[in-house]
C-alpha cells in the first residue's frame, strides 16, 4: 500500500481536483483506493456526492481502525472509496496534539488498511500544522500542485528543506505546475523551465481549464464525466508520471 498526499500550504491551487482525479484514475487501473478528504471544507466529498459527516467526528477517527472502517463510504466508482470530510476536522490539530507521538499518528492509523487498499490518497487542507506534519510523515509521495510563480517555487524549497530534516522515513516530493494560464507569459516560462531545472517537478502540467471547474457542477472526476477531454488527458499523463517516477 502506498500513501499519496496532495499538499500545498496555499489554498485554491488544485489539490482537491488532483486528489479526486488521481484517485479515480488509480481505481480505473485496478487499484483499491481510499481517498481521505481531510479538508473540513469537504470539497472532495462534495465532488463525489458524499455528505461531509463522520459519526463521532475527527476525534473518533483518530482513535482507531474500527471507527475508520465505519466511516468509509463507497463512491459511484468501482474500487474508489472515500473517507468523508467533517467540520470537526478544523480541530484535528488539537485532537492530534492530545495523542502520543502526534506526528506518527496518521501513519499508525493508515498502515493497517494495507490489507484492504493499494493506494490511499490524502487530500490535505491548505495549512502548515500538526496535521500536515503528521501527513508528511505518513506519506510515501507528496504531490504538490504549484502555481507557476516565483513565490510558489520558494515555498516548494521550504517544504523540501523541512522534509529533509526528518529522521527516518521521508516522502518523495513531486511538484507539478497547476492552473497554468497559457495567456500568461510567466506561467508559460516557469512551466517550461521548472521541469528542466528541477528533478522534483513533473513534466506534466495541468492547465486552468473550465472543464476542471465544471467538476463541481457534474460532481464527478473530470476523468469520469469527460474522459476524452484535454483536462482528463493531462490528469492521465500526470497519473502515469506519478506511477513511473514515484509509485
Amino acid at each position: 500500500m502506498k500513501i499519496l498526499a496532495t499538499y500545498n500550504i496555499k489554498g485554491g491551487v488544485g489539490k482537491t481536483s488532483t486528489a479526486v482525479n488521481m484517485g479515480h484514475l488509480a481505481a480505473r487501473d485496478g487499484l483499491r483506493v481510499l481517498l481521505w478528504d481531510l479538508d473540513p471544507q469537504g470539497a472532495a466529498s462534495f465532488l463525489l456526492r458524499v455528505r461531509p459527516r463522520v459519526k463521532g467526528g475527527g476525534k473518533a477517527l483518530i482513535k482507531g481502525r474500527r471507527e475508520l472502517d465505519a466511516a468509509i463510504k463507497g463512491t459511484d466508482f468501482d474500487r474508489l472509496d472515500l473517507l468523508p470530510a467533517d467540520f470537526t476536522y478544523r480541530n484535528l490539530d488539537l485532537i492530534l496534539d492530545s495523542t502520543k507521538k502526534p506526528t506518527e499518528r496518521m501513519d499508525r492509523l493508515l498502515r493497517p488498511l494495507a490489507d484492504e487498499y493499494d493506494l490511499i490518497v490524502l487530500d490535505c487542507p491548505p495549512s502548515i500544522s500538526l496535521l500536515s506534519e503528521s501527513v508528511l510523515h505518513a506519506a510515501d509521495v507528496l504531490l504538490v500542485p504549484l502555481i507557476p510563480t516565483t513565490l510558489s517555487v520558494r515555498t516548494l524549497d521550504q517544504l523540501s528543506d523541512f522534509i529533509a530534516g526528518f529522521d527516518g522515513h521521508k516522502p518523495q516530493v513531486l511538484a507539478f505546475c497547476s492552473m497554468i494560464d497559457r495567456r500568461k507569459r510567466l506561467h508559460r516560462e516557469i512551466a517550461e523551465q521548472l521541469p528542466e531545472e528541477r528533478s522534483d517537478v513533473a513534466r506534466t502540467v495541468i492547465p486552468a481549464l473550465s472543464l476542471i471547474e465544471r467538476m463541481s457542477v457534474e460532481r464527478a472526476p473530470v476523468t469520469a464525466f469527460a474522459p476524452r477531454s484535454a483536462a482528463a488527458r493531462q490528469y492521465a499523463a500526470l497519473w502515469a508520471e506519478v506511477g513511473e517516477r514515484v509509485l
Binding site: 463525489l48 456526492r49 458524499v50 455528505r51 466511516a71 468509509i72 463510504k73 463507497g74 459511484d76 472509496d81 460532481r219
Partner: protein
C-alpha cells in the same frame, strides 16, 4: 434449505418492466437508474458429486457473457470471491481455476473431488443504480431473468425474475430501508431460497442427494431381512451412482466410494447373510469379491499418486526430480489399469451382477423372523467380542498377520455399527465409533505401511524389467521405503495403547448399551 435472503426478491411475472416496478416501490425517497445495457449470460453452477460446497454453505457460479467469463464463490454469510478464467472444461479439480483467493478458498473444501456442473441456465442481467437525493449511488439492484438449460431441465423453463440488492459501502442503513420499500411493494416478494436452490428445484435436483455414507432409517421391530435388504439396496444405489464417474475417471473418489460400497456389501452378506433366503449369500459373495478384486490395482496406484507430492517433498537424501521416473511409472500403469477397470464395469458379468442383485433385493420378504434390533444387538455383540478377544491375544511378538486379521474384524464391527446406526442413540453410537476409530486408524496405518513397502519393492522390480531406470530413482524409492518402514514401526508401537483405550471399561460399557437395547 429454508433461509431468508433479506436483500433478494422475486418479481411477479405480471408483464411490468422490472425497472418500473422498482421505481414505483422506491419513490419518492429514492430513484433508480439503469446502468449500462442488459447482458445475456450463460450460468453454470458447480459442485462436487457429493455436494461438498453446498454442505459447506458455498455456491460456485460460472457466468459467461460476450466479454467476461467469471467464477464467483459466495458464502452463506455473503462473503464473495471472484476469479476470471476462460475455456475451462468441467468436470475438473479446483486446481484448474487460476491461482488466487477463490481457488485457495475452494481447494480445502473440494480436496480430491472434481467440480462438475449441477445446473445450467441462461439469464438476462440488468443493473440498476439506486440513488439518493444527491444522485449518489447508494445501492445496486441486479435484475436476473433466468431460463433453465441443460439435459435435466426443460429448455426454456423460465424462473420468476429475481432482484438482488447490494449496499454500497457505508450505506447499509439506507439499503435496509430500500429493502423494506421493495418488500412492501405490490408484485415483489422476499426470496425464501437462494438462486441456486431455485434453479436446482426447477431442474428437479435435490442438493445433498448423494452421500457416500450409510444413511438408512430402520425401525427396531422391522424384520431383520427387510432391514438388511434396505441397507444392501442403499449400498447398491451408491455403487451404481459411482459407476459413470469411475468409467469417465472424473476423480479418484468415485472409485473409492464404489469400492467402499462393495466392501460394505460383502461384509453385510458375510455377517448377516443368514437372514437372506438360502443360497443367496453363496450366489453373490463370489461375484462381489471379483468386483472388489478388479478395483484393487488401480486404487493402490491412486493411493501413491494422491500422496505423491507430499512423499516427494519429504525426501531428504534424494530430490523430487530423482523420484520422477517413479511418478511416470505410476501414471502409466494407472492408465493401463483404468482401461481394465472400464472393461470390467462395462462387462456382461458386472451388468448381470447389479441387475440380479437388485432383483433379489426387491423380492418380497416374509414379515416374520427375528427383528432388526435383535439382529443388530446379536451381530454387533459378536463382532465386538471377537475384536476384544483377538486384540487381547496380540503381544509385541505377534506376527503382522494377527494385526491384519484384527484390522478386518474392526472394519466389520464398524460397518455393523453404521448399518444399524438408526436403531441406536446417536450420542452413544458416535462415541462408540470414535472409540473404534482410534484403534482402526492405528491398524490401518500399520497395514498400509506393510502393503506399501511390499508394493514399492514390486514396483522397483517391474520398473527395472520394463525400461532403463536411473539408479537415482531407485535410491529415492529406497528412501521412501525407509520412511514407510519408520511409520510402520511407530504404528506397531502405538498399537498397545490404542487397543487399551478401546478395551477400557467406558468403551465396553457403551458397546454393552448398544447390544443390550439400552442404547436405543
Amino acid at each position: 434449505m429454508v433461509e431468508s435472503f433479506p436483500h433478494d426478491f422475486v418479481l411477479a411475472s405480471d408483464g411490468r418492466p422490472p425497472a418500473d416496478v422498482v421505481r414505483a416501490a422506491l419513490a419518492p425517497r429514492f430513484t433508480a437508474a439503469p446502468d449500462g445495457r442488459a447482458r445475456t449470460v450463460r450460468l453454470t453452477w458447480l459442485d462436487t458429486f457429493d455436494w461438498r460446497l453446498y454442505q459447506a454453505g458455498l455456491t460456485l457460479q460460472h457466468c459467461a457473457g460476450s466479454r467476461a467469463s467469471d467464477y464467483t464463490l459466495t458464502a452463506n454469510d455473503g462473503e464473495q470471491l471472484t476469479a476470471s478464467a476462460k475455456g475451462l472444461r468441467w468436470p475438473a479439480l479446483a486446481g484448474a481455476l487460476p491461482p488466487g483467493p477463490l481457488r485457495a478458498r475452494l481447494r480445502p473444501v473440494t480436496e480430491v473431488r472434481a467440480l462438475m456442473p449441477t445446473a445450467r441456465a441462461s439469464a438476462t442481467v440488468r443493473q440498476l443504480r439506486v440513488l439518493n437525493a444527491d444522485d449518489k449511488t447508494i445501492a445496486w439492484l441486479t435484475v436476473t431473468d433466468t431460463s433453465l438449460a441443460g439435459p435435466r431441465g426443460q429448455d426454456g423453463t423460465g424462473l420468476a425474475p429475481r432482484l438482488s440488492l447490494t449496499a454500497v459501502r457505508g450505506y447499509q442503513a439506507q439499503t435496509d430501508r430500500i429493502a423494506r420499500c421493495l418488500a412492501a411493494a405490490p408484485g415483489v416478494t422476499p426470496a425464501v431460497a437462494s438462486p441456486l436452490d431455485d434453479v436446482l428445484a426447477a431442474a428437479g435436483r435435490h442438493p445433498g442427494d448423494y452421500s457416500g455414507k450409510v444413511d438408512v432409517k430402520l425401525t427396531a421391530e422391522m424384520p431383520a431381512r427387510c432391514a438388511l435388504e434396505e441397507v444392501l439396496l442403499q449400498l447398491l444405489n451408491t455403487l451404481e451412482a459411482n459407476v459413470p464417474g469411475t468409467i469417465r475417471d472424473t476423480d479418484t473418489e468415485f472409485l473409492h466410494d464404489l469400492r467402499v460400497a462393495v466392501r460394505r456389501t460383502r461384509s453385510a452378506v458375510k455377517l448377516c447373510g443368514d437372514v437372506l433366503p438360502a443360497g443367496v449369500p453363496e450366489a453373490f459373495s463370489g461375484e462381489f469379491k471379483w468386483l472388489g478384486d478388479v478395483t484393487t490395482p488401480i486404487r493402490d496406484l491412486d493411493v501413491y499418486l494422491l500422496g505423491y507430492d507430499q512423499m516427494a517433498a519429504g525426501l531428504l537424501a534424494a530430490t523430487p526430480a530423482e523420484l520422477e521416473p517413479f511418478h511416470r511409472y505410476l501414471a502409466r500403469h494407472r492408465e493401463l489399469e483404468q482401461r481394465e477397470l472400464v472393461r470390467a464395469l462395462r462387462s456382461r458379468r458386472f451388468l448381470d451382477l447389479v441387475k440380479t442383485w437388485r432383483k433379489e433385493l426387491a423380492a418380497p420378504a416374509p414379515r416374520r423372523g427375528i427383528t432388526a434390533a435383535a439382529l443388530a444387538a446379536e451381530r454387533i455383540g459378536r463382532a465386538h467380542r471377537k475384536v476384544l478377544k483377538r486384540g487381547a491375544a496380540i503381544t509385541p511378538d505377534s506376527p503382522p498377520e494377527s494385526l491384519h486379521d484384527l484390522r478386518k474384524r474392526c472394519k466389520e464391527l464398524r460397518y455393523l455399527l453404521e448399518f444399524f446406526a438408526s436403531l441406536h442413540d446417536p450420542a452413544i453410537h458416535q462415541q462408540a465409533v470414535r472409540d473404534l476409530k482410534g484403534l482402526q486408524d492405528c491398524l490401518g496405518e500399520y497395514q498400509d505401511c506393510q502393503v506399501q513397502q511390499h508394493e514399492i519393492r514390486m514396483f522397483a522390480a517391474q520398473m527395472m524389467t520394463e525400461r532403463d531406470v536411473p539408479a537415482t530413482a531407485l535410491l529415492a524409492m529406497g528412501e521412501l521405503a525407509s520412511k514407510i518402514a519408520r511409520r510402520e514401526r511407530r504404528a506397531r508401537r502405538e498399537f498397545a495403547d490404542r487397543f487399551a483405550d478401546f478395551a477400557a471399561a467406558a468403551s465396553q460399557q457403551r458397546f454393552r448399551a448398544l447390544t443390550s437395547g439400552a442404547g436405543r
